[in-house]
Symmetry: C2
Subunit: 321 residues, 2 copies
């Protein structure tokens, strides 16, 4: 899968990475600088800053502000990942050791906090209060989602629960990326609402595809065992589809009765889901989100940036398949 | 020691506590609400919001904005305490069980993060970008200070190290309290600078007195064993004064050679410090900071709020003695 939509933003992404790197200024501790460097090298697709540039360019937002905003959002994302990995005890992310695999829990907590501080500082440097409010609200949504997931009973098979979880985890920050970049370019509320929808729908599609990949991906690519969500009591969309269409399957019955902790049976269930229509149904649902995203930006289809936004949306449902 | 300076701000403090309480809205998880309630009940002196009101009232800052700012600052303070207690493994604070004494580390990390998010949201609601920037910068200073302390070798006997540590830990947020409240009332840069100095000096005095109390306080009041800083390798001002005046004391020599881990000897050193002039010298230094704070606000000594600011500064060096 090629990614031509990335070409117009490549230089911007480099500026974002440079700005992120510079946040660990010389006045800070060398170990902290090393940790930030490690996190930056670990990288990732920078898909959120990509959305920031594509949306911002569509409405002629000032480039420098978009760099600042992109760095703020990517640092917020990184901060939540650092604490997430610590909480989950994850030792690898994208094939690279996590911070907590190398550092003490205490240092990992504080490094995440430092990233929150820097992300907030960058968000404030966009010099636009509504973005700052959106930033704070999004942080709250993300953390509240994680708390809810932590306190909730495991093995819950419920669409409403699933959707609110993936909104908190992914949809909210994608939504913020598209909306806040647009806010830097236009005050037109209906345009802002359209771009907010684009970010939301693309984010929901992205997370659904991530959850599909948990069943279909190679362990080497995904970086964790196949079916690990379900084995950890996290019921995602493919599993929900399978449960709906196979209510009498013995493993489905076990899961519904709270038996997600039975690893042998759950591994059987993972295999059943993999070879069922549930995967296709989940992908179809992600495609529906992408269609809604494209609907939302149709008014701008004469702009050169439209094609890139369209390309990014399609990429999300096509990647790695 | 009476606290008449609190009288004019008592109603405001109640509003701050109500606003903090309302941050755990109904949409959030009941366990999270319980945790926030627990943190609010654990309370504390609310000295930072007190400074916010006294400074803000001096320059006729809008009351509602001061309530928002006071809640933002107190929530930021609470967030850092939650992560601090987790990192230190503290089970009690102000005689009440810490969050991590009752909850898992994961839930404690996330609750702290939630408080960061809410604090940032409240700071943004002051609708004044320079305050938002100051907020983000202060968060970074606090966290960087904790990281530096964590990475630094223990047992360091050095004034410069001590001062930068207590600035990060306490001075910075006191400084922000006085400065940001003033910013809501006046654009006069020299007035802002004076109030910033007041906050800084009062904060430094406050932390020095806290460090003195670690040697002189009753365990029941302080909530931790007497001399616990030194026993944990943290060399504070009373110890620095003692080392300077007793270079040939055998325990001082041991400490200077990195022997802070020898608990028996350090307990002897704690007793020596307690009964020495070092305590008086440290208190005198705190008083010097208070004098500088009062110098800074002298231009406003015809205002009714001046007396309260003066009373608060004196209270800091007189409390519990």
């Amino acid at each position: 899968m090629s990614t031509p939509f990335l070409t117009p933003v490549q230089d911007g992404i480099k500026e974002v990475e440079q700005l992120m790197r510079s946040q660990a200024g010389n006045e800070h501790h060398p170990d902290l600088r090393a940790a930030l460097e490690h996190l930056l090298v670990a990288g990732g697709k920078r898909i959120r800053p990509t959305i920031v540039f594509l949306a911002g360019n569509l409405f002629n937002a000032p480039h420098k502000k978009l760099v600042t905003l992109g760095a703020a959002i990517e640092m917020l994302h990184t901060a939540t990942l650092v604490h997430d990995d610590l909480i989950d005890g994850s030792l690898l992310r994208r094939g690279i050791p996590t911070l907590n695999a190398r550092w003490s829990p205490a240092a990992t907590v504080l490094t995440g906090d430092f990233l929150f501080g820097r992300a907030a500082k960058l968000a404030a440097e966009t010099d636009y209060l509504p973005i700052m409010k959106l930033f704070a609200e999004t942080l709250t949504v993300i953390v509240n989602g994680e708390l809810t997931q932590m306190f909730a009973a495991k093995g819950i098979i419920e669409r409403k629960n699933y959707y609110s979880r993936i909104y908190a985890k992914t949809g909210s920050l994608f939504e913020m990326s598209a909306l806040s970049a647009t806010m830097l370019g236009t005050e037109d509320e209906s345009v802002r609402a359209s771009m907010k929808t684009y970010g939301y729908e693309v984010g929901m599609a992205f997370q659904i595809m991530d959850d599909v990949l948990d069943f279909t991906g190679e362990q080497a690519t995904v970086g964790k065992p196949v079916g690990s969500d379900l084995l950890n009591g996290l019921v995602t969309l493919p599993a929900i589809y399978y449960v709906e269409s196979h209510p009498d399957n013995p493993e489905v019955k076990l899961l519904a009765e709270g038996g997600w902790g039975n690893t042998d049976k759950m591994e059987i269930l993972v295999k059943s889901i993999q070879s069922s229509n549930a995967i296709r149904h989940a992908i179809d649902e992600a495609v529906e989100h992408v269609d809604k995203a494209l609907d939302a930006i149709k008014p701008f289809n004469s702009s050169p940036e439209y094609e890139s936004l369209e390309g990014l949306a399609h990429y999300i449902v096509d990647r790695d398949f």
